[in-house]
Amino acid sequence: MTLPFEPVTAVLAIPAIAAALLVVLPGYRLTSRLNVLATLLTFLAALSLIFGRPVPGPYLLVDDLNNVFIVLTTFVGFTTSVFSASYIAHELETGRLTPTFLRFYHAMYQVLMFAMNLALMANNIGVMWVAIELATLTTVLMVGIYRTHEALEAAWKYFILGSVGIALALFGTILVYMAALPVTGAGLDAMVWTVLVARAADFDPALLNVAFVFLLLGYGTKVGLAPLHAWLPDAHAEGPTPISAVLSGLLLNVALYALLRFKILLAVNPNAVAPGPLMVTMGLLSLVFASFMLYRRRDIKRMFAYSSIEHMGIITFAFGMGGPLANFAGLLHMTMHSLTKSAIFFAVGHIAQVKGTQRIADMGGLTETNPVLGWGLVLGVVAIAGLPPLGIFMSEFLIVTSTFAREPALAVILVFGILVGFGALFLRLNGIAFGEPRGPTAAAQASYVPMFVHLALVFGAGIYLPPPLVAWFQNVAKLLG
């Protein structure tokens, strides 16, 4: 099938061009619409990738694995931009953002999209690294955009911890190159992933091991795995909510994607240390840790940020376990988590705007005062807590049952962590959505479409997964070994 345009180029070029345009264009209406349009076009281009993929080059590659992520990323990017349009309008009205910063915000949004798409499509581990770092730096700037003390502090923390992560990931990348060097010879080939994976069996296992440790810690910082998570809750809490949605829904995935690529590399080499146990350990640690952290949260966005850590832990655990079932579940969980968490942040953003605060103690009885938002949040939390018939239940079902049959002890820890987190989420939800109304109760000027589109997708997926998608996921799961 031939397309009238080159989708790969489009996926990268549209955000890049849009970023350039948005820097110069004035006016909120125009820019926010352009922002939506650009993300929509990117999404459409990404969709077309499903039908026609380019031949992998030295820099770019589209295969089953990253195609899943690209479509997901561009889709959530699109819906978030729709949400962002209504969210930012309110921020402008209340004066939290000035038009200058708004311009900057939209441009940065597109740069972020570009960086993430690039990271996903990179066939070159160096390019991938560069793209992820670009995405990190962009989000650092956006986290600090409100310029309050808290925002700056969060951005600073993110920046410093992120920089160390960047450095560690680079060292890991260099080590992979060094491992490849004797086999593939010097030059570009030693950084091209398709080449690496084809010949990884001959690489020096010890070097690969060290490399993986560095990559795990470097990219793991971006994924938000405990104990490398520290930047994540604050960055989520203090940045604009659309950015929180993108961070939780996408950037964490992108970082995890990078980790997966290297996991495949290691899995090919028979003598290298198995990456599974490392990931399982870190996943469980993150899950249990984040679950407990959920209890003492007072800030609603920070709470859901910890929930993201929890879910990243589950996903990492699933991929660490490996096998067709667990991998499938991991992929599904990742997709569902992206959709759900961003939907939750959409709701949370509007709630915080209505209430004028992010303090959980100042919210109450939302289902009474703002039924749509309130029930949206309830549905989102129900989904994120892994209750059926929503999609996350399916993935958790697969993860738990497949693990219990193989490693009962691990499954028990997993279940324990899930239950602890569940308790915390609903404890807070009880206060926010039910009980006597507290705080301002004005109606939200919000676009509920993105939130409910996401939730509807999650709901649908929990009941019915279309066979092509399943086949696709299964292919990828096989790829992940």
Binding site: V130, H149, W156, S163, V164, A167, F171, L181, D204, P233
Partner: protein, 220 residues
């Protein structure tokens, strides 16, 4: 590649580790900055030598950046920040210098052990190089972790990054090395500017002395 080139590279990389150790030992800010300038200088020499040995002219650019930016611009800038912000000249350490040194020894030993497991049929130069680079990285991190002072933490981060550059240039024919070093320089510039802008006098932890402990995410 001859014996000599190996020996010289070995020597330069080894001295980089040595200078990292010297950083651990410092308890005065100015002295630390001077030592860091030395660190950058040794790196420059090492990178230049690799450029010569590998016959890779683009590495000279990296060496140039290291020399101009890290050995001169940054130390001078930090110097001025110290004066301007009135930062204490003495470095507060978390653990004493003695234990830190011991820890550093342990880290170097660790990186040697880890790297020596690499099979011998790999390039011996690369192996040695990586062991030293790993040591430098770990020592840089150690500086960041054991110093309370923002400037010394920046210095720690920069020496960590020097280790990366050492590793990258030691890897024969690695693409994007120059770009990476440029990117890192920008990153460091950001950090330095950030310190200046946010008036971080004592440590990374807060953007303003008034808010030093007020806000840690949730305490409000």
């Amino acid at each position: 590649m001859g014996e000599l080139s190996y020996d010289v590279a070995h020597l330069l990389a080894g001295s980089l580790v040595l200078v990292s150790f010297m950083q651990l030992y410092q308890d005065r800010l100015y002295a630390l900055l001077n030592i860091f300038a030395l660190h950058a200088l040794v790196l420059t020499l090492s990178v230049a030598w690799q450029a010569y040995v590998q016959e890779a002219p683009h590495l000279y650019v990296t060496a140039g950046i290291a020399l101009v930016f890290k050995a001169i611009v940054i130390p001078v800038a930090l110097h001025r920040i110290i004066v301007k912000l009135g930062i204490h000249r003495e470095i507060e350490t978390v653990v004493g210098v003695g234990p830190t040194m011991l820890l550093g020894m342990g880290l170097v030993a660790l990186s040697m052990v880890v790297m020596l497991r690499v099979t011998t049929d790999a390039d011996p130069l690369a192996r040695q190089d990586l062991a030293f680079a790993l040591s430098v990285v770990l020592l840089g991190l150690l500086v960041m972790v054991t110093r309370r002072n923002a400037v010394s933490q920046v210095v720690g981060f920069m020496s960590l990054e020097n280790g990366l550059v050492l590793a990258a240039t030691g890897a024969k024919g690695m693409p994007l090395v120059v770009e990476i070093s440029v990117a890192f320089s920008i990153l460091i510039a950001f950090i330095v500017i950030g310190i200046f802008l946010f008036r971080i006098r004592e440590r990374f932890d807060s953007v303003d002395i008034q808010t030093l402990d007020r806000f840690r995410g949730e305490r409000r």
